[in-house]
């Protein structure tokens, strides 16, 4: 089933750390960033190398991180701190500057810890708590401008707006390609699984963005040739699952593996480590304000408060995506101490229940001790979906 381009991407990912090391030796600077609202276009347009840092799924690294950051922070940020404490990750080793946005306050805290303990230069991008107010645009624009000035200092040059326009165009094409690939993975007779698509997104955290676009387009060409026009439909006997909730960073495969092992098929997600950052990005003009507005108009991150459930863009988008991908149920993943998503689980469940969409919350961390308990829940959920939607396999 694997596409040829996936093999090329795998190889390129293996080679990438050495390339970045070489680029640094030749004077280029690397910006390691984490968050949801960093306009990466600015970093790239300034000739800096953007790398999204942070991995998950390693309990040992979480424990190392917990020597520096409170154990009441989520395991993802604890592992991020652990990466810096151990300093073995090639991307962490090759980061000159760090950029974090203040969307999730735990991420913000991570930035403070890394600066304090590991003496790294950290830039923080302020984020409004309420994306819906006009004042939010003013505030975020100012923040993006200030962020750009600090990046310019690192790059040793001013932002060229023609290059920025080209970069926005490049990123738009990346976003469009990812959205189209998602349609292929959810379709009947798919040649690419959701997991492979998800890995493809994570490849874009590290590879040069021009090369990344070219690889995405190769994937699409292969899919068009093999699969033709994608048609999304629920096939008899399937339990089509939509993933929502807390971050599932590269390396955190526990839940994904369990869902697949018990016969569930993941068909979509609205994870901030998945599809959602690439959706609904319309940069209205080639300016820093244009970028700020474009980012504000995306589906907001879960760390920002609900203001009005009936008009919340996250809920609206979640419902639309469930429909688009013909999902039959939602597995809502919450990481221990990831309060923003954990607090919203019940409301989300209640809202979806009214639409007849069942939701299973899986609350977990990176230790393997709950593997069997999670398996039982997910398996029962898959049985429930199959029973609901396919009388033939009713137990």
């Amino acid at each position: 089933m694997a596409l040829k381009t996936l093999e090329i991407i795998k190889k390129r990912l293996e080679e990438r750390p050495k390339e970045i090391e070489k680029a640094r030796r030749e004077g280029q600077k690397v910006v390691g960033w984490q968050g949801y609202n960093i306009p990466e276009e600015i970093i790239y347009a300034l000739g800096l190398i953007p790398v999204r840092i942070g991995v998950g799924g390693d309990d040992r690294m979480v424990e190392i991180g917990a020597r520096y950051i409170s154990t009441k922070n989520c395991v993802f940020v604890r592992e991020t701190v652990g990466l810096f404490a151990e300093n073995n990750d090639p991307y962490v080793q090759n980061t000159d500057i760090l950029a974090f946005d203040a969307t999730c306050l735990q991420t913000y805290r991570t930035a403070e810890i890394i600066q304090y303990y590991f003496n790294k230069e950290v830039l923080i991008l302020g984020v409004p708590r309420n994306f819906y107010w006009p004042e939010a645009k003013v505030y975020f624009t100012k923040e993006v401008e200030y962020f750009t000035r600090r990046l310019e200092k690192q790059a040793g040059k001013k932002l060229n707006y023609q290059i920025l326009a080209d970069t926005i165009g490049l990123y738009d094409r990346i976003r469009n390609a990812i959205v189209t690939i998602y349609t292929y993975q959810a379709a009947a007779g798919n040649y690419l699984s959701w997991e492979e698509t998800y890995d493809l997104i994570h490849a874009g955290y590290y590879l040069d963005r021009r090369e990344y676009l070219s690889l995405l387009e190769q994937v699409l060409a292969e899919l068009r040739e093999k699969q033709g026009q994608p048609f999304i439909e629920a096939v008899e006997g399937e339990a089509r699952i939509f993933l929502s909730g807390s971050v599932l960073p590269p390396g955190d495969k526990k839940l994904i593996k369990i869902i697949q092992e018990v016969g569930g098929r993941i068909v979509g997600d609205d994870l901030w480590s998945g599809l959602i950052p690439y959706l609904d990005v319309k940069i209205p003009e080639n300016s820093l304000q244009g970028l700020a507005v474009g980012y504000l108009n995306r589906t907001p991150h879960g760390a920002l408060p609900y203001l009005d459930l009936d008009t919340d863009r996250r809920i609206k988008r979640l419902k639309e995506l469930i429909q688009t991908f013909k999902a039959q149920g939602v597995i809502y993943h919450t990481l221990r101490y990831c309060d923003p998503y954990t607090f919203k689980a019940k409301e989300t469940k209640d809202i979806l229940q009214k639409e007849g969409i069942p939701l299973l919350e899986i609350h977990t961390e990176y230790a393997g001790s709950d593997f069997e308990a999670i398996r039982t829940r997910v398996e029962a959920f898959v049985e429930m979906l199959k029973n609901r939607y396919d009388e033939e396999v009713a137990v």
Binding site: K346, K349, P358, E361, H363, S369, D370, E372, A373, T376, R377, E379, A380, E383, M384, N387, R388, V393, A394, V395
Partner: protein
Amino acid sequence: MANVSAFAGVDVGSLGTKTVILVDGEIAGYSILRTGINTEENGLHGLETALENAGLKREDLKYIVATGYGRISAPYADKTVTEITCHAKGAHYLHPQTRTIIDMGGQDCKAIRLDEDGNVTDFAMNDKCAAGTGRFLEVMANVFKVSLDELGPLSLRATEVLPVSSTCTVFAESETVSLLARGERPENIIIGIHHAIANRVGGMFSRVGIESDVFFSGGVAKNIGMRKALEDVLKVKIVEPKKDPQLVGAIGAAVIAQNSWKRGR
């Protein structure tokens, strides 16, 4: 017995292995054994014992469904199904008006909602800790130097409910020791423990809701004190089970075995 069509449900739990044999939709035999370290052998031994009790042979079995945590090591089974689905089917078999199940087993606790056909519509399980499980009560029985079966009746002799603040097994054990050292009556502490568990279970029902009739299944359901505490805390009436509530998962598995065989799968 000639031309018999028998179906088996084997529920290998963390503390007990339960097996039920169904013939013509009726329970023909069953067994309840202590789970040992070899999961597969436990299931097979339970199956043989239940068959013997039913006066049947292995070849009389048309279909076997395994459930419980040991279902992953059940090569003797034709199919495996989670205990959540099995408890729903089992409770529906015993009491078709069941809409909510409280299942307390050896190592976990579940709140299950079901429809009029015994299909699961929603469920929640306790997270990680042992509170509200058979194992927790075993630890507590050990503190009071009584058998597990004595805990429930003892709690009914309480004159007041002493609050036990923690439901973490380790901390609850040390809290209980402190209360005993303070000279508190054991019965009042025991009822406090039961209420602490019931309060915790109440949290799960805030996630899935509760609707009558309410059925209490699993090994802990044999504990009369736990049943009373749940009724008091959740303000519900729990139905009287017609069979041993510890068998509900195995009954459900046997019902599924029968249905699967009829459907040819």
